[in-house]
Amino acid sequence: MKAPRVQLMATCLADAFFDDVARATVEVLEHLGCEVSFPEDQTCCSQPAFNSGDWPAARSVARHCLRVFNDAAPVVVPSGSCARMVSHGALLLFEGEGETDRAGAAELAQRTWELGDFLVRGLGVARWPGRLGMRLAFHRSCHSRGTAYAEGALTLLRSIEGVEVVEIGEGEQCCGFGGTFSVAFPHISRGMGTLKIEQVLATAADALVSGDSSCLMHVAGLADRTGRPLRTLHLAQVLRDALRAASEASA
């Protein structure tokens, strides 16, 4: 595919906490020749309300999202979770609603991409330039189940020279974030997160990498709180860092 114009859905978490992830996403897409536009009226994909069971509230946010990304260009999201909300959750959310909503949601769903998936399956990228001497533990966030997201991210990460990707034990287990689940079920969420941290530490990796800032925020925040800091990187940050290393090497 020729590098197209794309619309960036930065995600509400990047908007509030992880601006570097959004910046890295822009740089990665531009490196491939994409023209990146950022619709400024964007807010959130509606998932917090959807998962909390407040579907009327979720519908109003999801409708706003449909209006904001009304342009026909592909939408790229540096989050498997938000991408799945748009490509799957919104279809459930509008199931019993009017034809306009359902058609709008179906149309946006089929042109919305998780970042790694867009690079690999959308643009056909198979190798990533640059060199990073790093051992990375890759967390397959749960929203990648039944999708090609994790395979896309792994293809890219493994192709970077000097990067060793290590498997996390019990990789199918959730980190325990689950959005509002982490505050509504703090005890269980912490138990799940603690097991994940133990598995990650056992890999002796330099950093934990994921395509989802939300899992990373939970795991890193919990690790910090319990006095065993864990370095986390979003997929986009690793790709951006590799590009920087490549340009430094050629300079």
Partner: protein, 466 residues
């Protein structure tokens, strides 16, 4: 750390470390064995799961037709067929049959349907001895406990606990050697089979084509229940049908592997009807009670896929919440992901009492990934959350209000202002912070607020590159 408030979180927090560990390690081992065996034996287990899901869904979509067919076939085979609308009717039907054949003592196999209708307790109240013959269920019965897992009812116990129970019930002096425990149970149960007048079972599947009941066990107890008694009663949920005998090949291969990592369970029986003239033993009388008990209502709703469930327990084993909380946290016969969907649905009008169960999930989707009939459990949990909210159920936990969130997130100017104002977060004194934030911060360090920083960067670049 703040006090857990959702019932399942509270239960998990109060549970002893040894119990949590027993449940976690037991379910982890079950999941790992299942995965190893499925992927060792099949090139593409996922396509088998999807196919099995489609067959089950097809059966449910035409259940009236298949029920009629099964009824006709079974009657032609010489068995009697009954329908029970609810638990009460099912129990009364069983009692009526037992009374008419003069039965005083009954032996039964493990069956979720009979758990659901609390048949054992009902019969005991009516003077009929009801004995569980599955080893795990037998121990549960001795302890007056509840099963905590669909397939492994005593996953929450260790052998020392079981040995104490046996000692307390006069089944020998304390000895926690598994072989000794098993031998003592066997000796006790063998006598009971011979004394029993009737045997009660469930059924894992019923073929509509032949009317055959399929019973799957690992202990062979169902064979004893049928061989030694005069009268066999099977209590079977109406969702247990499959269209044809040959469909059983797929389901039995998936069931054994998904439940216990076995290519096939040790005993699989196909029962067409009562003993024929040429057969030396087997029950003279055979009854099947098809149990509705809320299933028709589920079938008419938007969570009907849950009726595909073949009770393998794979979703419990892989579920990180089940591993933390254990089965009893779910307050029902069914626990784990399938219980979080089924229990509130089967509760009918008492749905609001169980509306917290579907919320007790990070929606990680591992349950769907292992389900042998590909039930989209996370989607069903979400629909039930919506239903709970519409029923006016208020969550006990610290979930923030989604009304305020939705107002902000549908008004871009207000959203941008909130992003900038969020930097004040760090200046709000602890006690004044919103409840959800306080809970979050009891477990986590919050990353620094960077609201608006990315937008400012984008705007700056735009200015520089016109």
């Amino acid at each position: 750390m703040s006090r857990p408030e959702e019932p399942i979180d509270r239960f998990a927090a109060a549970q002893s470390e040894s119990r949590r560990s027993a449940v976690r390690l037991g379910s982890k081992a079950g999941h790992e064995k299942r995965t190893e065996v499925l992927f060792r034996d099949y090139a593409d287990p996922d396509s088998l799961r999807r196919l099995a899901g489609e067959i089950k869904q097809h059966t449910l979509d035409h259940l009236d037709l298949y029920l009629e067919r099964a009824e006709a076939r079974r009657e032609a085979n010489g068995a009697q067929v009954h329908f029970a609308a609810d638990a009460e009717e099912a129990c009364r039907t069983v009692l009526g049959i037992l009374q008419s054949c003069g039965a005083r003592r009954m032996v039964k196999t493990k069956s979720m349907a009979t758990e659901e209708i609390e048949l054992g307790a009902f019969l005991e109240r009516h003077g009929i001895e009801s004995l569980e013959t599955d080893l795990g269920e037998f121990i549960v019965q001795l302890d007056a406990d509840k099963p905590s897992h669909i397939v492994k009812p005593i996953m929450h116990k260790d052998r020392r606990e079981v040995a104490r129970t046996f000692e307390g019930h006069g089944l020998g002096a304390y000895d926690d050697t598994p072989e000794v425990i098993t031998r003592r149970a066997r000796e006790h149960l063998r006598r009971k089979y011979l004394e029993a007048d009737a045997g009660i079972t469930g059924a894992n599947f019923v073929s509509a084509e032949s009317g055959r009941l399929v019973l799957v066990t690992n202990e062979g107890n169902s064979r004893f229940c049928l061989a030694a008694t005069r009268c066999h009663i099977a209590v079977v949920g109406i969702e247990k049908l499959v269209p044809r005998d040959r469909d059983l090949a797929l389901f039995l291969n998936l069931l054994g592997r998904s439940a216990t990592g076995q290519a096939l369970s040790v005993y699989t029986e196909f029962i067409a009807g009562p003993r024929g003239a040429a057969q030396p033993d087997g029950p003279e009388e055979m009854h099947v009670i098809f149990l509705d008990a809320g299933r028709s209502e589920i079938l008419a709703g938007d969570a009907r896929q849950i009726l595909r469930c073949i009770r393998c327990g794979a979703c419990l084993n892989v579920c990180p919440v089940y591993r933390q909380a254990s089965g009893h946290a779910y307050r029902g016969v069914y626990s784990g992901p399938v219980g979080a969907v089924l229990t509130p649905l089967l509760a009918g009008e008492r749905f609001p009492e169980f509306a917290d169960l579907p919320r007790a999930s990070s929606l990680c989707g591992a349950c769907n990934e292992v389900c042998p009939v590909d039930i989209p459990i996370p989607d069903l949990l979400l629909r039930l959350r919506d239903r709970g909210k519409r029923a006016g159920v208020k969550p006990a936990g610290a979930s923030p209000s989604m009304k305020t969130f939705a107002r902000l997130a549908s008004r871009p100017a207000a959203w941008r202002r909130a992003l900038r104002a969020g930097r004040l977060l760090g200046f709000i004194p602890g006690p004044l912070r919103p409840r959800a934030l306080r809970v979050w911060e009891s477990n986590h360090v919050l990353p620094p607020w960077r609201g608006g920083a990315f937008r400012a960067w984008m705007a700056e670049r735009k200015r520089k590159q016109p």
